[in-house]
Symmetry: C2
Subunit: 372 residues, 2 copies
Amino acid sequence: MQVLATPKLRAPSIETVSIDLGERSYPIHIGQGLLGDPGSYDAVPRGSMAVIVSNATVAPLYAAALEAALKSRHRQVELVTLPDGEDHKDWTTLNLIFDRLLAVGADRKTVLYALGGGVVGDMTGFAAASFMRGVPFVQVPTTLLAQVDSSVGGKTGINHPRGKNMIGAFHQPLCVVADLDSLRSLPARELRAGLAEVIKYGPIADVPFLDWIEAHLDDLLAGDPAALRHAVRRSCEIKALVVGADERESGLRAILNFGHTFGHAIEAGLGYGVWLHGEAVGCGMAMAAALSSRLGLLAESDAQRLVRLIERAGLPVRGPALGADRYLALMRADKKAEAGEIRFVVLDGLGRAVLRGAPDDIVRQVLAQHGD
Amino acid sequence: MQVLATPKLRAPSIETVSIDLGERSYPIHIGQGLLGDPGSYDAVPRGSMAVIVSNATVAPLYAAALEAALKSRHRQVELVTLPDGEDHKDWTTLNLIFDRLLAVGADRKTVLYALGGGVVGDMTGFAAASFMRGVPFVQVPTTLLAQVDSSVGGKTGINHPRGKNMIGAFHQPLCVVADLDSLRSLPARELRAGLAEVIKYGPIADVPFLDWIEAHLDDLLAGDPAALRHAVRRSCEIKALVVGADERESGLRAILNFGHTFGHAIEAGLGYGVWLHGEAVGCGMAMAAALSSRLGLLAESDAQRLVRLIERAGLPVRGPALGADRYLALMRADKKAEAGEIRFVVLDGLGRAVLRGAPDDIVRQVLAQHGD
């Protein structure tokens, strides 16, 4: 007798990565069709008011679906739409959130939902940390960069003209809902910027993942759902391990800043929003790899391997011509600096990152090499 | 043989109240001559940069003494002078602190010192909570109000036009140094305002302390050092007990807000700085006592006893004519409100405070009684 294969109903495949922070632990749900599914938000208490914070680009695409999903959970759902872009990640824009919260009668139990990319997530998180000295919030990241990095780990904040993310708070969300479907609407430039943060996890912590990215980069660039799913999940797993071990960046967590010391200087030096954050990080990683090599920590061939991958991802590996003095001045304001000494995340071989200072003349050589 | 009594060197009498919050525990030192004594700051790690934040009134009086005391502990000591007054407790003024911190090269180990009254303490604390997502700070309160209330317990923040202290953080200091000598320079109006917060502790938690205040009010108003010392110490003891039991105001801590729901509405309604915070709280306590009585919780004679004490302290017991509708609208934005219902701290007999709602018509009667 022949057994007929019955067609399988594909259950929506959701993967959940847990971030372990004691009573502040929370789940990161990764999958397709999650954003509009009321079940994705089970970690949120019922009955309070919800305020969705989004931007002018993302709100028209996804706000209605999120509002519909939240209607059964919250007694009232409001939407605040911010201007889009890193150049709006400042106090003026943050105040739009506070103004609206007070206008609609938000209270200490009101839940904020960050619907958008890293800028929306960081600002909504800081608004949640500060409004009435702290209200709960949820991350609903719609960009690759936010799904693999900024929505996870509780770093929130705004920029200051002198430095990126200089004003902020550690404030963990109730949950993160990463809907892979939202990546379909992502412009190619934003996808590439997100890949910078994906690539990051390989050299700092996971060489097999680096190998996998090299092998699947074309799939990722083409938006292949299975490849993106693996990239998001593995990135979140690595980030969850690091943040679980060092929530407030007293040590280990700093490795997640690989490429960010140079990158933040590029962003602040050019003016926020000229380069995307991921573009600046991509170039910053190329510079940090070169620095690691010049410090004798990383084989030149490994540095070149990384630079080639960053280039293949369509990201810049040569920085803007700010001048080395300006780069150095901006980097001295970096949050990892101590007593004026810049501390770089460098690679001590592929798969291991360490924090250390570097002589100015070597940093200048790196900047010259990378197109200062 | 006759033993000659040797003249005793009077050791500087310092009293220390501990605030017990696990790893965030810290001491409150109370005494004379503390501000300029390097030993007062033993809880602060050595070697980092110090940034003193003060205002245009207090800095000329005490900044030099504090700077001198900190020279041996810190590698660099900077001073930021803000404009004075509650009307400057906003983002614009807060940004002056951030601008200066970045200009002088402050890092994550930089220690902020709040030298002044409640406004300086709340803003410095919020700047410390937010700068680079959190740096340590020390409270050096120079007003009675700050010594008995606002410098203790880690509530920090700024005002929003729609509500007092709406944006802020819980951020505990490394220590509090309450120098009683600084009260000598305090204008009489500020001393009276501070007495409002001293009086508060009696009816909410400690009837014998209420009796003591009634018996010693004239000494307190005259600035008698022994009376002030006792008032500061007992106030800090009560606040430490309450905050130690409920750091983030999930319950009990709200009792410290007795008089503040009405008081904050007065401050926001008149425009910040027209009445001093303590004046608004004094009047607010008279209103809250009347409300307690109308709700059948407090004997009318006890309410009158409290109102008489507030009046004797030279504080207002009749509110400004904002109109009952405006009072109610402002109070609905109060941080204790939930789903639009105002929750008042009322007295359930003298010495015991509880949180509860009240029908609008009874609140209107109270406002009419107290001069709306």
